[in-house]
């Protein structure tokens, strides 16, 4: 029997780790997206939802989710860095000429789209979670829920932020990166996890890229609707 450390360090285990954490991050994105789309239902809905997230289980659920997400994120990035370094070392001498047959722009740029997404995530947290950038929009406004509670006005914060073209453009470009990364990632994760069923595999290879486009479009819908004036205060 092999030692746990030998298995942990192996390329295949690192790949497996990347796939499973990646799929959890995709599930998080789907949850995040469904919350975002509440903007279209109006100010009360999204503020109530945001308040609910913060207070569920006296905040324990939110913090549990945050710690889980951070762990997955770190494992995902760490395995990506480990594997990318090894993959580079595996071909010290490049070809003078390479003709790709089946790789795609998305599959060849996973490392770069991933690195850009790390900077985006930091910016995004600094913007909406920490209020460290664009602080002028950061939830100074308050909102009275139908229940009578006074809560931070997430809706106004979002609408004010995305009324600035520069912020909207930054977010839209980032969503292109999300789409590009997921375009290869989703189906790829299923392959790494070992799905060989010949009915499921073609389905996954179709749904994966389609889902990546839907997620990118879904997230883009909010800033687009705001900058076009369809959603306003």
């Amino acid at each position: 029997m092999k030692a746990f450390g030998d298995i942990w360090r192996s390329n295949l285990f690192q790949k497996w780790l990347m796939a499973i954490t990646g799929l959890f991050l995709v599930l998080f994105l789907l949850g995040h997206l469904s919350g975002n789309l509440l903007v279209f239902l109006g100010q009360a809905h999204i503020n109530e939802y945001a308040h609910g997230l913060r207070t569920m289980g006296h905040g324990a659920v939110l913090w549990g989710a945050r710690i889980g997400l951070l762990t997955f994120f770190i494992l995902h990035v760490a395995s990506a860095i480990t594997l990318s370094r090894r993959n580079r070392q595996a071909r010290p001498q490049k070809y003078a000429r390479v003709e790709a047959r089946s790789s795609t722009l998305a599959s060849r740029t996973m490392l770069y789209s991933g690195l850009l997404l790390i900077t985006y995530v930091l910016y995004h947290l600094a913007h909406f979670t920490w209020g460290a950038v664009h602080a002028q929009h950061y939830a100074q406004a308050t909102f009275i829920l139908p229940s009578g509670e006074l809560v931070p006005d997430v809706y106004t914060m979002v609408v004010k932020s995305f009324s600035e073209p520069l912020i909207t453009v930054l977010y839209l470009l980032s969503m292109v990166m999300v789409g590009l990364h997921l375009n290869h990632a989703i189906a790829s994760a299923f392959q790494t996890l070992g799905v060989t069923n010949r009915r499921i595999v073609p389905l996954v290879r179709t749904i994966g890229p389609a889902l990546s486009i839907l997620i990118a479009l879904g997230f883009s819908a909010v800033p687009l609707a705001i900058i076009l004036g369809l959603v306003k205060i």
Binding site: M1, K2, D6, I7, R9, S10, N11, L12, F13, Q14, K15, W16, L83, R86, N87, R88, Q89, A90, R91, P92, Q93, K94, Y95, A96, R97, V98, E99, A100, R101, S102, S103, T104, S107, R108, M110, H184, A187, S188, Q191, T192, L193, G194, V195, T196, R198, V201
Partner: protein
């Protein structure tokens, strides 16, 4: 036809090597790619130059000995075709052809287009076999094997170990080769006894040899002269995790 060839020349494992350009005239379209290189070598020898070293054996596409990257593709532009079965009619007069060795840390260049594929042998030694007692061979029909299983095993066993999958992979990963060997034996009853340790040991040996990891581009599948499916890689991934969890590997 007249061709301009850019061929990787490297005197030995420690030489840095470089692409050298050769003009070759009157190439017949009926020649195989290797015969074209034979003609070039005859000319080089006549001029007192050192001929281009390249691996070859059966020249009928079944042994896996030949292999070179031709215009950026292992074994050249045709699908499911080894370099020896590639014919010059695929090219046209005036073409420039780049000929390079397999590129991987685990396949060090010995000379020109010849690489050392001993790393594949060491992966096989880690479990690419079934252990059987010697003595009289049992009757071939003693163990019933369903046609779909036999076919699947054969699909994987078609691997000739040429290394085109490693050459095509942007990460020089040997996963298609190793997965084919693991998948071949995992499809058959005879392979079950050592299935768990085989998957574990062969996978870890790939890392030891310095092959990269799979990023699911499927360039290997597209380059494989035997058309082996990347589905076997998924199966290997599963067998590896099962072995790790089962603790038998």
């Amino acid at each position: 036809m007249n061709l301009r060839l850019h061929i990787w020349r490297q005197a030995g494992p420690n030489d840095t090597g470089m692409l050298k350009t050769y003009d070759l005239a009157n190439v017949s379209e009926h020649m195989s790619f290797l015969e074209m290189l034979d003609v070039l070598n005859e000319e080089l020898i006549a001029k007192g130059e050192i001929p281009v070293a390249f691996d070859h054996d059966c020249r009928e596409g079944i042994c896996g000995t030949c292999g070179m990257v031709i215009n950026g593709r292992p074994h050249g532009p045709l699908a499911r075709t080894t370099a020896c079965q590639l014919h010059m009619r695929t090219f046209k007069d005036g073409d420039e052809i780049y000929i390079e060795p397999w590129r991987a840390k685990a396949f060090p260049v010995l000379r020109d287009l010849v690489v050392d594929r001993g790393s594949f042998d060491r992966i096989i030694q880690k479990g690419g076999f079934v252990s059987v007692n010697t003595g009289n061979a049992q009757d071939g029909n003693t163990i019933p094997i369903g046609k779909p299983d036999a076919d699947r095993a054969m699909d994987a066993a078609a691997c000739i170990g040429c290394g085109a999958c490693v050459a095509a992979c942007p990460n020089s990963s040997a996963m298609l080769f190793t997965a084919a060997k693991i998948g071949h034996l995992a499809s058959l009853p005879q392979g079950q006894a050592e299935r768990s340790s085989r998957a574990m040991n062969m996978v870890l040996q790939m890392d030891t040899e310095g092959f990269g990891a799979c990023t699911n581009h499927y360039e290997c599948e597209a380059a494989c002269p035997k058309g082996i499916s990347a589905e076997f890689i998924a199966q290997m991934n599963r067998d590896f995790v099962a072995s790790a969890l089962g603790g038998k590997g």
